[in-house]
Symmetry: C2
Subunit: 471 residues, 2 copies
């Protein structure tokens, strides 16, 4: 029995502007139009002898994750969510995974720990490597996947190996060191993927980092567990307890010290796709070496990559660049400088530029909204509510809202009135009025909202009822 | 007496996507935030002994041109507009200029013919060259301004000179030819600027291209002349007559054949700014050689130019490129391939891509509109009406409209009702209802319009009254 545990965390600042705090890296699309996260899920859920998948993610990303998984069209899988009130690095995530899986499936259950935001092009190779790892894990060993290096990569950590055994972990090297690693044949890339029996990890952590293990276990016990109609089980970790778990990577806390660490040499088309350059490597190229997602036109461009979300991008006479075009920000980066996007991101963050964190499109449990326009005293949004979606019953202290339905049917509460509005019908929500919109139909409902008022922040909201537990 | 005649025509397809059919090159901003057109006007209107300026432009661009000129803060100038129902090339424009100026100011009036969309950095040099040209023109000569070449430019036409006389005009040469021109010292760039007495040009055209002259003169006579309260005089050329004027450049029709052509050697920082590369040359650069207009952040970028209209543009590690970011299209072009933007433009045009011609922001006599969103069955616009602005009294056959005022005060006709709406007030214009909005205030009025209906084209409009004569 293999239980994949998908660990979904981190913003991916080098993938700005498509990735933001509110729309992190795992949600970025690959060439098949599906997100990194969904690709990872499909890879894991379609393994033989997998009936349950555990996902560890930030509490605020849970409904987006549930959304993503709904696109999975393989056989039935039960989903378990472990929701972190805050990120505590990979040692805590590993401890939570081991404790949860041991509790639910026993000490012998084999955990396949997978970062949510990596690419693996060779799915057959991945399956073979997992089968081999699971065999060793069932013999009590902790197994790491070492990737055969294809170049002197300075963006990855390395594992020095001796046969099947890990000798040591090393940090990201400089070019000369990376070159010597490559030539020695003794070094593999550290993929961050691991395989072990739940009981083996618990034993190792009891020895190496007992505080992390105990507090993680307690955060589950004291956490908030809920089973949903669709079969999924969500456990929100206890915030106070989890906040006390030491923040450290699993490499430092366990892997560098553990005795029985075994390495699987994997040549499976792996990449951590940490930059636009490496992400673009996973796309097929045309005769000129170009690849693109979105509306793109080119003349005399070579080896370029375009990610366009909303508008036409035209390239003329440029080589070896990536262009990332989003609703509120555009990035143009030389592929071999893709690491430096982080510096740009930090520059924007330090300058307090809005575009570093927020995203004009927000996903919510009930659907999504897109900011169309903002000006002094007003804001215009397109609000899309999925079938069955229902916003919270709410009011605002500082703004009034004008709603015009343009698609579908909206059931609306406006003060004392209950309204059913179809396309081309509108209502006015006066400042202070309690209101709600709901889509009871089978088709999406779209509504244009014009807000007016002296303060238009998202935090001007009083929630009275919420089917998603946010009130 | 000098009468500058500004000729404003042509789309500038190599400056896509900032320039479009509905927003052509003369309206692009220079570093001072003012358009090429306004910069040309300021240069002309501020010349000594100028009391009148004539502008020849497309009929559809007239109100945008009037708008631009309102930003002129020099002394009083009377504006004359000659509005072309369609472009008939520069020989027709020159004939119209000569006939109009001769009629209004006499045969001796000196015409200074200026393309609207060129840059001249050295304004003092320009004035000195004009003074010299006007002197020669008053002696009966037709004068052209030849620009001292600063390199083997292949994008310009050349004039071969012998002392003060033009020997011949030559088309855009190849690099080798351009190099030989440069070395010979006998060739100057053809700037397209001319200076002549109205009567001299009429005499020359009577001899060289009498049909162009006669039909152009007739197009004025039969045209529609109107004087406005602000003193400007608009003459819309008679469409049928003007359509019959042979379409040919003034170089071919007159300058290559005329006997008494004199050349002023001008070293005045001139450029036709035909490409993003040449336009960027007119901007000051920072220590890394970069220049920008709009919201821009850079890390490790060199010799780049950014024109951003709506959003943040980030550059990382790129050199020698221009990035042009507009509401619906983004261009990234290597500066030395800037000529090839035309090929991209043609590719888009041939593919019928909307972004080749239309522009999501439209200027109108009453103000402007911006398309914020479009989807099946709906469209969202921000409508900005200037103080005193008034849309036509109109109705639509296929769409209804929801108006919400977000700034200023709107006087509205909606069917039988007359409404005065302030910010946070709204009204519903039912399909078929006669309606109008007007801004009688002293501040701008902004309104969000949500259209719904089966057909949402701009041409679904019946106009009943219009203060701008469009009904």
């Amino acid at each position: 029995m293999i239980v994949p545990v998908i660990v979904s965390g981190g913003v991916g600042s080098r993938l700005w502007p498509a990735s933001r705090q509110s729309h992190p890296k795992p949600f970025l699309p690959l060439e098949n139009g599906r997100s990194l996260l969904l690709n990872t899920y499909e890879r894991a859920a379609s393994l033989e002898s997998v009936a349950d998948v555990v996902t560890i993610t930030a509490r605020d990303s849970s409904f987006k994750t549930v959304d993503e998984y709904e696109h999975y069209d393989g056989g039935p899988v039960r989903n378990h969510y472990l929701l972190e009130p805050q990120g505590r690095d990979t040692a805590a995530a590993t401890a939570v995974a081991a404790a949860y899986v041991a509790g639910a499936f026993g000490d012998d259950a084999i955990i396949l720990l997978l970062p949510a935001d990596h690419v693996i092009l060779d799915r057959e190779g991945f399956r073979a490597a997992v089968a081999k790892a699971a065999q060793r894990a069932s013999e009590g060993r902790i197994v790491t996947f070492g990737i055969e290096p294809t170049g002197p990569e300075t963006g990855y950590g390395y594992i020095e190996v001796d046969g099947e055994n890990a000798v040591r972990f090393v940090e990201k090297p400089d070019v000369a060191t990376a070159q010597s690693y490559l030539e020695s044949g003794r070094f593999l890339w550290n993929s961050g993927m691991f395989c072990f029996a739940a009981g083996s990890m618990i034993t190792a952590m009891q020895d190496l980092c007992p505080e992390i293990l105990e507090k993680s276990r307690l955060a589950i016990e004291k956490g908030d567990r809920e089973e949903f109609d669709d079969g999924r089980i969500e456990t929100t970790l206890d915030g106070e307890t989890f906040a006390g778990v030491p923040k450290i990577s699993v490499d430092y806390a366990v892997m560098e010290k553990v005795k029985n660490l075994s390495v699987i040499r994997a040549d499976i088309g792996w990449s951590d796709v940490g930059t636009w350059s490496s992400l673009s490597e996973s796309f097929a190229r045309d005769a000129d070496g170009n690849s693109a997602i979105g509306d793109v036109a080119m003349v005399g461009a070579h080896n370029c990559f375009v990610h366009s979300e909303n508008r036409l991008v035209g390239l003329v006479g440029v080589d070896d660049i990536a262009v990332v075009d989003t609703r509120d920000a555009t990035l143009v980066v030389k592929k071999d400088k893709a690491q430096d996007v982080k510096a740009l991101f930090e520059q924007l963050r330090d300058a307090g530029h809005e575009a570093h964190a927020s995203f004009p499109k927000g996903r919510r449990p009930w659907g999504s909204y897109t900011i169309l326009d903002e000006g002094p005293g007003y804001k215009v949004k397109r609000i899309e509510v999925r079938p069955g979606g229902c916003l919270s019953l709410q009011s605002h202290k500082h703004r009034s809202e004008h709603w015009t339905v343009v698609q579908g049917v909206a059931h609306i509460v406006n003060g004392d009135a209950n309204l059913v509005l179809e396309a081309n019908e509108s209502t006015y929500i006066e400042r202070g009025n309690i209101h709600r919109m709901e889509n009871r139909g089978k088709e999406p409902m779209t509504l244009i909202e014009v807000q007016t008022g002296g303060y238009l922040g998202e935090d001007d909201i009083v929630r009275y009822e919420d089917i998603y537990g946010r009130s």
